[in-house]
Amino acid sequence: MSKAVGIDLGTTFSEISVMQGGEPVVIPSAEGGNITPSVVAVSKTGERLVGQVARRQAIVNPENTIYLTKRFMGRKWGDKLYSPD
């Protein structure tokens, strides 16, 4: 039987919970934390990275690391993107 989950997709962190015994329970990540950074990346070997792992390699793989996605939602590719000047 499929379960319904609730996702808080935040600009910097995301969280997900599931109903267990009538109560919502937060699902911890593999690293043990309740919240996960909203970062995704594709590594040089083509591996897809999500969360803490993606954030830790952001500096050495900036072209293929994506974060603050919510700030760009609704824009078109090629729009003058937000940049703090």
Partner: protein, 210 residues
């Protein structure tokens, strides 16, 4: 002055409302009652179809209840299994909060031990401090804490955090700025490292003979 006490009827209504039950004695429900609660109608032959219909409905309901109950049971089994897993994890990593708070102390000891002034090297008291640092780490090691290997290794974001990109062999950890620690399999703090970007290291200070 408002009424302080409810009458018996009002109390009944109040509670029945809560459990969404209908009062079996109320007049409106006469029509909706089960055929078996209206024995005077059972004796008439025209009711065979009503009885058949009731039977079909009752069977459908029974099936629905059975499935609901089975789903509930499966849910319960899953919940129990999940709770046991959570409990085992909680016990296994119970100390992680404390150890994370102790890690800055380990950092300080590492720095202190590495910065002994030349004039004091070898003195008994200094050696004593070195001993204390080693002992602290041995105690933590016995509880499952381990240092994360970083220097010279391939950069692995599951264990290392890149804080800078420097000339050096591409994809390899050139320098470790802060030691990473793990508790059993869980990473408590990733090692802070500088990662090589593939450019030649033109500085006179090469990294030690690797």
């Amino acid at each position: 002055m408002e009424k302080l006490h409810r009458t018996t009827n009002e109390t009944e209504q109040y509670f029945l409302q809560d459990v969404k039950m209908t009062d079996p004695r109320s007049e409106e429900n006469e029509q909706n009652k089960d055929i078996f609660e209206r024995p005077e109608e059972l004796s008439s032959p025209a009711d065979l179809s009503t009885i058949k219909q009731d039977l079909v409905e009752a069977r459908a309901k029974a099936q629905e209840y059975l499935e609901g109950w089975q789903r509930g049971q499966a849910d319960f089994v899953n919940l129990k299994r999940r709770l046991e897993q959570d409990k085992a994890d909680a016990v296994k990593y119970a100390n992680s909060g404390l150890i994370i708070k102790v890690i800055p102390v380990l950092d300080d000891f590492e720095r202190a031990v590495g910065a002994v002034p030349a004039s004091m090297a070898g003195e008994a008291w200094v050696e004593g401090i070195n001993g204390i640092a080693r002992k602290l780490f041995a105690v933590l090691e016995a509880m499952g804490v381990g240092r994360i290997q970083a220097q010279g290794e391939n950069f692995d974001p599951s264990m290392h955090e890149a804080v800078g990109s420097v000339p050096g062999e591409e994809g390899k950890v050139v320098m470790e700025l802060a030691t990473g620690y793990r508790l059993n399999e869980r990473v408590l703090r990733p090692a802070k490292v500088l990662v090589g970007n593939g450019e030649d290291d033109k500085s006179p200070m090469q990294d030690d003979g690797s």
